[in-house]
Symmetry: none
Subunit: 367 residues, 2 copies
DNA sequence: GGACGTGTTGAATCGCCCA
DNA sequence: ATGGGCGATTCAACACGTC
């Protein structure tokens, strides 16, 4: 640290994208010169075969050479190497973010611990619009995981607690963040109109990462720069960045993109209002939480129809089974039905609409 | 497998809690005898009194002069051992769930992959009422992570897709679950009125785990049984369980707790019929049974294409002949097609999907 | 020019049975 | 073991064209 490091630092080109392999370039940077590292490494997806949607259209999967590894061992070695190089350039009080999915994040997390990084949080990016599970064979893979670590247990790292609280309607920011995936106008396209990069991250995600863990003027390094979301948001928020990317095409795209970004006039005014989320309460929640016993009989208006509740939140009437909405529609011969207002239960002699129970759960969930 | 395994199985006491160390007890069970394992392993090393160093010397948590590397090594070895024993007792088509936090889950996940378990999902339990971060130095740690794995890539594991969809108001269940932590009347207290166990899991969480990945009658093993939430919910939902717990006090508490649980009256209430398990009805059956006359014209959507039914259950269009699926695919130029939902017929002026006829046959067959 | 309907798309480890 | 046939399967957001 100190003078010599600052002198060296001055020689490093900031706010540009360096073309090349990230370990090599990181090793060419002065040690302990970077405040925060954000890394979006290859996920090692191990995809095989093709996947089609129910309408027979083909899913455009990640099929790039940079995501292909021969084995977990090879992926671990790759990961170890870049984490080690990252550690060298990171300041003692710096922090590092890595994003990944279940394919790779457990390996990354274990290696971070082995390298004496100190875990501060794991943060779940909940996607508001994930790709569905087309075959119905698993749960919809609706999130990605970010691990946030300090260089050591004793690091005096930056965490802008008040900014995060302000961003979250004056409630502490939680470790699960609901944000949309990157599409629409933000998604960069190539000359053919296809997506320029298969895994471009949304700016809203980087916005929260950078606001939470850096100060204005801090240097943010991204060793897998891609189309440069980290650089674009860093510039916008008055931070500096060092981008490393080994694909010349991506370097070109990112450079152009960032040149069009304007730094915000007053960073202190930055705030993306966050509406407090009104959680959706599915009917099944009432059963899981014991507010309604499986086997309970529900009635339609005037007790014309009845159906029984099952443990999975489906209803069963004489002929039909399905959700409260579906069975409600079917007994009436209607095309649709709001089951919440249609079905009632006996509660101490009185008919109670099941929507009352939902309001009860919602009150508990938002308190 | 087969007879000998069944004989052995008969000797294993089910629906009871076994007192002892989980690896030892799992190794005493017959191999490939368990459908699902749910594990909530300790991650506070102080709790894991049995930890040994790789050289088999005891880790002394009180005089902990061992460094961090040793501690991760010890935790990995502990984890490796129980995952290995779990793998032996798990059926080929069985699945395993592990729950943990950022302290341990990355080590567990990496070891699962190293042991050739095949990841199906990681599932985020979002706590609706997490403990706040009192010092305001990090994000509120508001979730825990569950990893769901099959024994191998080729396992034919159980996933009750329709049940999960029903539970979630007819939308695919996502990988992030919002559920409250265990407190109130559900939280077991000791004689002093303190919580009986530090990490008692909510029954709602196990309800969803068990409904999603087991059939009624399946055997669920929990090697870190604690106060027996897994057993309580398994019994309620008509599943069997094998509990293993090394603390005599917990065994007592869990046993008493489960004895007070009642199984739901009707096992049929427990799970809606999964479409994939319905009997297969060949298209030709409709003709044989007189529900469809040979020579009838069927139409694709918007009557864009048509084809005629022949007596042997094949279709013939202008150019193609073959099964309802093949002809459906060929007229569209698609690689595949579900003929049951593609083809429609005129019935008294209305378009009727031929799948309706299949449902009629199914109803007749089950009555 | 808004309402509505149609079409496209996104880091995805996405069948099973039987001959 | 392996290949072919049966037949199961999608949510939210955005773009675009029509009325």
């Amino acid at each position: 640290m100190g003078d010599s490091s600052q002198e060296e630092s001055a020689l490093v080109k900031k706010n540009v994208v360096h073309l090349g392999e990230c370990v090599e370039i990181m090793n060419s940077l002065p040690e302990k010169s970077v405040d925060v590292i954000f890394a979006d490494p290859p996920y090692n997806l191990q995809l095989a075969g093709e996947l089609t949607r129910p309408d027979n259209s083909k899913v455009d999967a990640v099929n790039n050479d940079w995501d292909k590894f021969d084995s977990f061992r090879a992926y671990d070695e790759f990961t170890w190497n870049w984490l080690k190089a990252a550690r060298r350039v990171l300041k003692e009080n710096g922090t590092l973010w890595v994003i990944g999915s279940y394919h790779n994040i457990y390996r990354v997390g274990a290696l971070l611990q082995n390298l004496d990084y100190w875990m501060l949080n794991d943060v779940i990016w909940r996607k508001s619009n994930p790709m569905p599970n087309f075959r119905g064979r698993r749960f919809t893979n609706a999130h990605e995981t970010m691990i946030w670590v300090a260089k050591s247990k004793t690091s005096k790292y930056t965490f802008n607690y008040e900014s995060m609280k302000a961003l979250n309607d004056d409630i502490q920011m939680r470790s699960d963040w609901l944000l949309p995936i990157c599409n629409g106008g933000e998604r960069l396209k190539n000359s053919e109109g296809d997506k320029a990069h298969p895994t471009q991250k949304p700016e809203s995600l980087l916005h929260r990462v950078i606001l939470s863990s850096t100060k204005p003027g801090d240097v943010i390094l991204d060793p897998f720069f891609g189309t440069g979301t980290t650089g674009a948001v860093a510039k916008k928020l008055g931070r500096q960045f060092i981008g490393i990317e080994q694909d010349q095409e991506y370097v070109k795209i990112a450079t152009k993109r960032i040149s069009q970004v304007k730094q915000l006039d007053d960073i202190n005014l930055v705030s993306i209002e966050q509406k407090r989320e009104q959680p959706r309460i599915p009917f099944g929640t009432l059963i899981e939480r014991g507010l309604l016993e499986p086997g309970t009989t529900l009635y339609g208006p005037k007790k014309k129809y009845s159906a029984k509740v099952r443990a999975d939140g489906s209803l069963i009437s004489n002929e039909f089974q399905g959700s409260i909405h579906k069975v409600g529609a079917m007994v009436q011969g209607a095309s649709a039905c709001n089951g919440w207002t249609y079905w009632h239960m006996d509660a101490e002699g009185r008919e109670v609409c099941i929507d009352v129970l939902r309001q009860q759960v919602r009150a508990e969930m938002t308190n």
